[in-house]
């Protein structure tokens, strides 16, 4: 085997370490109300979900649109198992405090959220993964919609609180370390989502670089040839579907922590499309691209383009068109430009370490 270049991997590790350190320091120094942290927290959440979607759509070639559904399952499982028992009568006020009267630690709840999503993915995958391309997309979309209605069903109330929101469970802010009088001594509310997303994305990257990952990519490239090589298509597709859904579930739980409330009606198809957009803009088949574009997308939609929604005056002149909702118009145009002129997305299929590698052709000459 050829020797692997060590240097690009090392540089990548250093960059990742610097980013984490910068996040930690920024959080101690800057006021916690800064928009930067909103973007970072939501960005980390979306990054995980986008990478999980890329695992399926970009690396395995399964075009699924069920992401919001699996996120919702994750968010609900997280909420249901972590609301403190003493708060349950308040949250489940219409359902006598709800069915479940215990809580589990946050980490356990995160894993449970993923497992629940993966379990549903397994069930739905049995019939649905026999379908291809568009049909599969429609079926998974339908599944997400059905789950959303099911969770809001009144008879599910004791478990899911029906169409009412879940709240009062531990959110990102509860990770801040406080002293006895309640003042925050160490801020961790942004570092924690970074850590969760980092570990999960790291696991996905490990999977993609393993023999399994290669098998998934070969299925994407050519199903018949992959089968001729002895790769069990059904088994590998199901595996990819379950793993992707697991991490979508964890991402859903993170979104629940970020929002501090969970309500089924927010997990719409539009959310799946947002994530699909992130994947496409970042580059279908690039983990780095998905992560980058998640932060860009969240920053643009939550922060940088906010000014477009308010009236702006230049001297006595009122800038036309700027009013509530105009931001979304501009945003749509940006997306169109990206899709038209950067068809392969920001990264194409390249990853971070690839950027530090000499180009093969040059090396061969």
């Amino acid at each position: 085997m050829m020797k692997k270049e060590k240097k690009p991997a090392l540089i990548t590790w250093i960059i990742v370490a610097v980013i984490y350190a910068a996040v930690f320091v920024a959080e101690q120094v800057l006021p916690p109300t800064s928009m930067l942290f909103t973007v970072l927290k939501k960005g980390a959440t979306y990054a995980l979900v986008a990478v999980s979607m890329n695992l399926l759509n970009g690396f395995t070639g399964i075009f699924s649109l069920g992401q919001a559904g699996f996120m919702m399952i994750g968010a609900y499982v997280y909420g249901i198992f972590t609301i403190p028992v003493e708060s349950r009568p308040v949250v489940y006020q219409y359902y006598d405090g709800g069915l479940i009267q215990f809580t589990v630690p946050v980490v356990v709840a995160l894993v449970l959220a993923g497992l629940a999503a993966a379990f549903f993915a397994f069930l739905i995958g049995l019939p649905v993964l026999r379908l291809k391309s568009d049909y599969l997309a429609i079926a998974t979309l339908g599944f997400a919609e059905i789950m959303r209605v099911l969770i809001q069903w009144n008879n599910m109330g004791p478990l899911t609180n029906g169409s009412n929101m879940l709240r009062l469970y531990p959110s990102f802010n509860d990770f801040n370390i406080k002293d006895a009088s309640g003042n925050v001594t160490v801020y961790l509310s942004t570092l924690v989502p970074f850590l969760i997303a980092g570990v999960c994305i790291g696991l996905i990257v490990l999977l993609l670089n393993s023999g399994y990952g290669r098998a998934l990519k070969s299925i994407r490239d050519d199903e018949i040839a992959a089968e001729a090589m002895g790769i069990n298509l059904a088994h590998h597709k199901r595996l990819a579907f379950c793993i992707s859904s697991f991490f979508a579930g964890v991402g859903g739980a993170m979104l629940a922590m970020y929002q501090t409330t969970v309500q089924a009606k927010f997990f719409t198809t539009a959310m799946t499309y947002e994530i699909l957009l992130i994947v496409v803009i970042g580059g279908v088949g690039s983990v780095t691209g998905s992560v980058l574009s998640s932060f860009l997308f969240v920053a643009a939609s939550e922060w940088w383009l906010r000014f477009l929604d308010e009236k702006q005056m230049i001297g006595n002149f009122e800038v036309p068109l700027l009013r509530n909702g105009f931001r979304l118009v501009v945003f749509s145009i940006i997306i169109m430009v990206v899709v038209l002129f950067f068809r392969k997305g920001i990264m194409g299929t390249k990853e971070l370490p690839d950027l530090f590698r000499r180009k093969r052709k040059e090396a061969a000459k």
Binding site: R214, R220, D221, M229, G230
Partner: protein, 239 residues
């Protein structure tokens, strides 16, 4: 005992019989070819042997074992590798990754590394391009890669479906050189070809397939000198 034995194989797609009961044998270490026109059932035969299509009737024996009802994965493990029609390398994976996919079912890590080196020795061109995406290779190189990938499964027999399809005449020569190389390594090859001339020159034994039936069989030279073959497949008119 022959390595591969097919008896009275019947296969139909949606009511149409593609194979109407064919029988043939492949001996260890030989190149055996099936020739025939489009729709004669050549590809169906290969797909049935490799488990991608199910047979209605008839049996397939490999090393004396009945493998008719095995799944694709098990057939690959048994030692039959397939080079599919149109090469079908994985275009977005590198040459090296393509080779590793070939070894997907194998657990013997050290031997895999040796085998990769062995294939690089056999096809030095692949070594030069080891980090290139397979989709960027030329047709001939892709065919080398498809053969190399099939060899990575450590097969006892390689089946090749129309390896010369869509390639320039010079490249076709290369392909048949590759097949000859395979034979020299002791490999058994079951070859399917429309290019009857080249296939008959390369093979030890040949079967002629016509609309789902075997109509003729013999050594390459025998068939090359047969007037029926010359008329039907070699474009020579008997005068």
């Amino acid at each position: 005992m022959s390595l591969l034995k097919v008896t009275d194989l019947v296969v139909s797609y949606g009511g149409i019989e593609a194979l109407k009961g064919i029988s043939f044998e492949v001996e260890q270490g030989q190149i055996v070819t099936l020739i025939g026109a489009n729709g004669a059932g050549k590809s169906t035969t290969l797909r049935t042997i490799s488990g991608l299509v199910r047979a209605q009737e008839g049996r397939v024996y490999f090393e004396g074992r009945d493998i008719t009802d095995y799944g694709t994965q098990k057939i690959v493990e048994t030692g039959i590798a397939m080079v599919p029609e149109g090469r079908r390398v994985f275009p977005n994976l590198t040459v090296l990754e393509n080779l590793r996919i070939g070894a997907y079912l194998r657990k013997d890590k050290e031997v895999i590394e040796q085998d990769i080196e062995y294939i690089y020795d056999l096809f030095p061109r692949l070594k030069e391009r080891s980090w290139q995406l397979a989709g960027t290779l030329s047709g001939g190189e892709q065919q080398m890669l498809a053969v190399g990938r099939a060899m990575m499964t450590r097969p006892k027999m390689i089946m090749m479906d129309e390896p010369s399809l869509g390639l320039a005449p010079l490249v076709v020569k290369d392909i048949f050189r590759i097949i000859q190389t395979l034979k020299e390594t002791g490999m058994t090859v079951l070859l399917i070809e429309q290019n009857a001339n080249a296939a008959l020159h390369a093979c030890d034994y040949a079967y002629v397939l016509e609309t789902g039936r075997i109509t003729m069989a013999g050594t390459g030279e025998e068939l090359l000198s047969s007037s029926a073959i010359q008329e039907a497949y070699l474009g020579k008119t008997s005068k």
